[in-house]
């Protein structure tokens, strides 16, 4: 039971009771009686022509209901951004793991057996396996329409970078390489599709963070109207950005159509690695010029990012890496050139941090190097360059609130930064890194950014919330319920948040860009305020008092002449409106812009910040890195639920340390060889820092609901550099490539001693 005001209170996470008892049905738990199981046949070659596919034997297997190959697909290639998804391979394959054929059958075993009987004749082609070389002469051109394998490029220039560099006291340049990462959500991608033969309509129960975007794209890909595609998004076991529009869903849909039955797609873990999307690896050539005080005078970037074999979100991620960090610090002279390139590898897509995490590693490492050379405290160089509330940054980003300085100060105090830095014990070190991020990002959808919500007061005074942005475990449903409970001053227990369903809930852009609280939260707040106003009007009439005499309290309208609970008001409205419940719609438009042709313009309503400090111990004999303490201070504007914010921070830090120290995708001639949890090591209990302290900084915000900004992605952005900067402090070794390789670190330490 929550005492006091709702906002800022720790409340039980929505559906927690169902989760802890195993009663919550995730998408892979849904029992679709009669749903067939499917198996995809995947290419063993990273790049090859397909000379022949013979599925004859597969069709003979008893229990097989349909077999599908690319030859049967009429349409040209499709795609959510670039039309490079064949759905099933046509005359060639572009990565080892690409979908070549698919079978659905009465059970998984039968489908897998049949898939193995499909014969494919390949003629291997030279493959582009190293994205860093993809644009070089002599590399195969993978697609006719993409010379030098370039998917897209990005340039932004401000001021005069050469002048800035010339005026610099110190210029430092480094090339950083960030690794690809597998999201490793615990529930692999899953989707059930049922095709209605009579109406030509598809119903999906799909794990997707972007149900409406998927609805539009799948409709286009399947050649039907979006009104003929219904997407229901059941609870899912994690997303982290890697469950957007998904090719496997389309294959399941086509199989369902062919078989005349519902089909379930649910990957085995090994297959989920191959199905895409992995984090974009990047090569970041970064140059910074600073004056004697450490003030940034120039920033130059040449960046190459790996798209993989087909396009997911790369065209938005690569530019994000190029220029989001420019609004963390004040700078005027910038020259940035970024390239997104094809390679014959697993498709790369969104993952927590979205390019900003990659660039933050580079930026925070190089600033650290500069601080060391200037004999400056790494903290001071951040403080001297940090953006402030009220700034309009070099790209026109409007910083409406910033708790960055406070984050640095609190983290430093909690970490005992000054004393720890002075301590200088061998192989023990401390490092700092900061970050910025967005709370929603306008360029994601042309038409607008924002969100809509409907709230409905039903029998018993219960409230239904309908919103199109997605719960992936981060607690969005709880946040929305809490906001509504606060506005309406009603018990949280009486609020229900519907699952996203494209035929029920209002259109939503989805869960990405750390936008949930800002966008959906504001939409629900606005809708709830409208509902409150209507409740007051009716209550005033029934209680014979003035509207301004009424107070909402404990799920009731109260005034001096009496009170009416929401159940009574709901019943009253049903009568007045002849069966129509009291509901209100609200939408939130953050007034952001898609940056103009010069990349100028404010794309997010407000920006969260963070400062992390890691204290590490390095074993010189093994190169193993242990994180002793970790402090993560986050400017979240206002924490709607502090416990939930802490959970996001803790989860982000551990994911980040996995990326830095443990997780490495290993390829052999273009084939992923460690696609399992034994050989791809994600953090376990044993890998957690000895002490992890999340700190919440609340400067408020003029735009966020009750002043709240986001935290999901900022939670991971600074982690890598915090750790690698600490490794430098401990050993004198600078890490520029991820993950940290113990063997290499050990040798480099040996080289220094």
């Amino acid at each position: 039971m929550v005492v006091g005001t709702m906002i800022g209170s720790n409340v039980p996470n929505y559906d927690n009771y169902k989760k802890v008892t195993g009663k919550l049905k995730f998408v892979s738990d849904l029992n679709m009686q009669n749903a067939l199981e499917m198996q995809i046949l995947r290419s063993p070659h990273p790049h090859a022509l397909i000379k022949k596919i013979d599925a004859g034997q597969a069709l003979q297997v008893e229990g097989v209901k349909a077999v599908l190959t690319g030859a049967e697909l009429g349409q040209a290639e499709v795609g959510p951004i670039v039309n490079d998804w064949p759905i099933l391979a046509r005359d060639r394959v572009y990565y080892a793991g690409e979908e070549v054929a698919a079978v659905c059958a009465i059970d998984k075993k039968t489908a897998a057996e049949a898939a193995r009987l499909i014969e494919v004749d390949y003629e291997p082609l030279p493959a582009v396996l190293d994205y860093r070389l993809a644009m070089e002469a002599g590399q195969a051109q993978i697609r006719e329409t993409s010379p030098k394998n370039i998917v897209t490029s990005f340039q932004v220039e401000r001021g005069d970078v050469e002048k800035g560099l010339a005026a610099s006291f110190l210029v430092k340049r480094e090339v950083f390489e960030t690794s690809s990462v597998y999201a490793a959500y615990l529930e692999t991608n899953c989707c059930i599709v049922e095709y209605d033969n009579y109406k030509g309509e598809y119903t999906f129960w799909a794990a997707t963070q972007v149900p409406y975007r998927a609805q539009r794209f799948y409709a286009q890909a399947l050649g039907v109207s979006p009104g003929q595609v219904r997407i229901i998004q059941p609870p899912m076991g994690g997303g982290f950005g890697a469950k957007y529009e998904h090719n496997g869903h389309l294959i399941a849909a086509l199989l369902s159509k062919k078989a005349g039955q519902a089909v379930r797609l649910w990957y085995e873990r090994e297959e989920d690695f191959l199905a895409g999307s992995l984090r974009l690896p990047m090569q970041i050539d970064l140059t910074l010029g600073v004056d004697q005080q450490g003030i940034i005078l120039a920033k130059k970037v040449h960046l190459i990012a790996d798209n993989g074999a087909r396009t997911l979100s790369g065209p938005v991620i690569m530019p994000t890496a190029c220029f989001r960090v420019d609004s963390l610090y004040r700078m005027e002279n910038i020259c940035t050139e970024g390239y997104l390139v094809y390679s014959n590898t697993i498709p790369k897509g969104a993952m927590r941090g979205f390019g900003n995490a990659q660039m933050t590693f580079a930026m925070e490492s190089l600033l650290d190097q500069i601080a060391a050379e200037l004999n400056m405290d790494p903290m001071e160089i951040r403080k001297i360059n940090a953006v402030e509330a009220g700034d309009i940054t070099v790209h026109g980003w409007e910083i409406k609130s910033s708790g960055l300085r406070e984050c640095i100060a609190q983290a430093a105090e909690t970490a005992d930064w000054n004393n720890k830095r002075k301590a200088k014990s061998k192989y023990h070190g401390i490092g700092l890194a900061c970050c910025n991020h967005v709370s929603g990002y306008r360029p994601v959808l042309n038409e607008y950014d924002g969100s809509a919500a409907r709230v409905k007061l039903i029998a018993g005074g219960y409230l239904l919330i309908e919103n199109g942005d997605v719960e992936i475990g981060q607690g969005l449903k709880s946040t929305l319920a809490q906001i509504a409970a606060e506005v309406l001053q009603m018990p949280l227990e009486k609020i229900k948040v519907l699952d996203v369903d494209t035929e029920v809930t209002p259109y939503g852009i989805g869960t990405l860009a750390t936008r949930g609280t800002m966008m959906a939260g504001n939409a629900v707040k606005i809708a709830a305020e409208k509902l409150l106003a209507e409740l007051k009007e009716i209550a005033a009439e029934l209680l014979s008092c003035e509207i301004n005499e009424l107070e909402a309290k404990d799920g009731k309208m109260v005034c001096s002449s009496g009170e009416l609970d929401y159940a009574a008001l709901a019943a009253e409205v049903i009568t007045r409106q002849k069966g129509c419940a009291l509901s209100a719609e609200g939408w939130f438009d953050p007034q952001t812009v898609i940056p103009d042709a010069n990349k100028y313009g404010n794309p997010s309503p407000s920006y969260p910040f963070a400062a992390h400090i890691a204290e590490v111990e390095v074993d010189p004999d093994t190169g193993q890195v242990t994180i002793c303490t970790y402090i993560a201070a986050h400017d979240v504007g206002k924490a709607i639920c502090p416990s939930r914010v802490e959970g996001q921070i803790q989860g982000g830090v551990v994911q980040g340390l996995g990326w830095t120290l443990l997780e490495k995708l290993v390829e052999d001639a273009g084939t992923l060889v460690n696609n399992n949890f034994l050989d791809y090591r994600i953090p376990t209990f044993l890998d957690t820092p000895e002490k992890l302290t999340p700190l919440i900084v609340e400067p408020g915000d003029p735009v966020g609901p009750f002043g709240a900004k986001g935290v999901g992605e900022p939670a991971i952005n600074p982690v890598v550099a915090a750790i690698t900067n600490a490794i430098y402090d401990a050993t004198g070794v600078r890490i520029t490539r991820l993950p940290v390789a113990p063997e290499e670190l050990k040798n480099l330490i040996g080289g220094k001693s």
């Binding site: 720790n10 039980p12 996470n13 559906d15 927690n16 009771y17 169902k18 989760k19 802890v20 008892t21 195993g22 009663k23 919550l24 049905k25 995730f26 892979s28 738990d29 029992n31 075993k109 999201a183 490793a184 959500y185 615990l186 529930e187 692999t188 609870p235 899912m236 076991g237 994690g238 982290f240 085995e268 873990r269 992936i472 475990g473 981060q474 607690g475 416990s643 939930r644 802490e646 959970g647 921070i649 803790q650 989860g651 982000g652 830090v653 551990v654 994911q655 399992n676 949890f677 034994l678 994600i682 953090p683 376990t684 209990f685 044993l686 957690t688 992890l692």
Partner: protein
Amino acid sequence: MRILTLKVNGATHRVASEDSELLVDVLRERLGLTGTKKGCGAGECGACTVLLDGKLVNSCLLLAVQAQGKEITTIEGLSRQGKLHPVQEAFLATDAIQCGYCTPGMVLAAKTFLEEHGDFTESDLKREMAGNICRCTGYAKIIQAVKLAARGRGGGEWW
């Protein structure tokens, strides 16, 4: 196909199953007990954790036929007449759940750990529960939950 007799959460079930079917699949698909999850199919993640005669096992590494004659406890069998087990209460109290997919396995692992250990260090806890993976929480609040549940031990109907 054969008819297996499986004792799950105190109830006896007769279920048709192939010899090659895994316990996790029989529980989920044939008995409809979807509280037990499937995260990797290779005994690496712990999402499929159940108790077999009170001992923790990965149900994705057992054939259903191997579980005959034993007492199987899944997450659905933990609460009694709607009353949550103290470990479940602790997970709720400490907000140790995000997406919830690891939670059933995690709860069973925590319960077993607390039954088998009197005093323990955080190190003991981390080592013993390392077989259950979580990608969302960073484990911090789960550790708090186990410690909270530990404090509540001392007789009563659950311990």
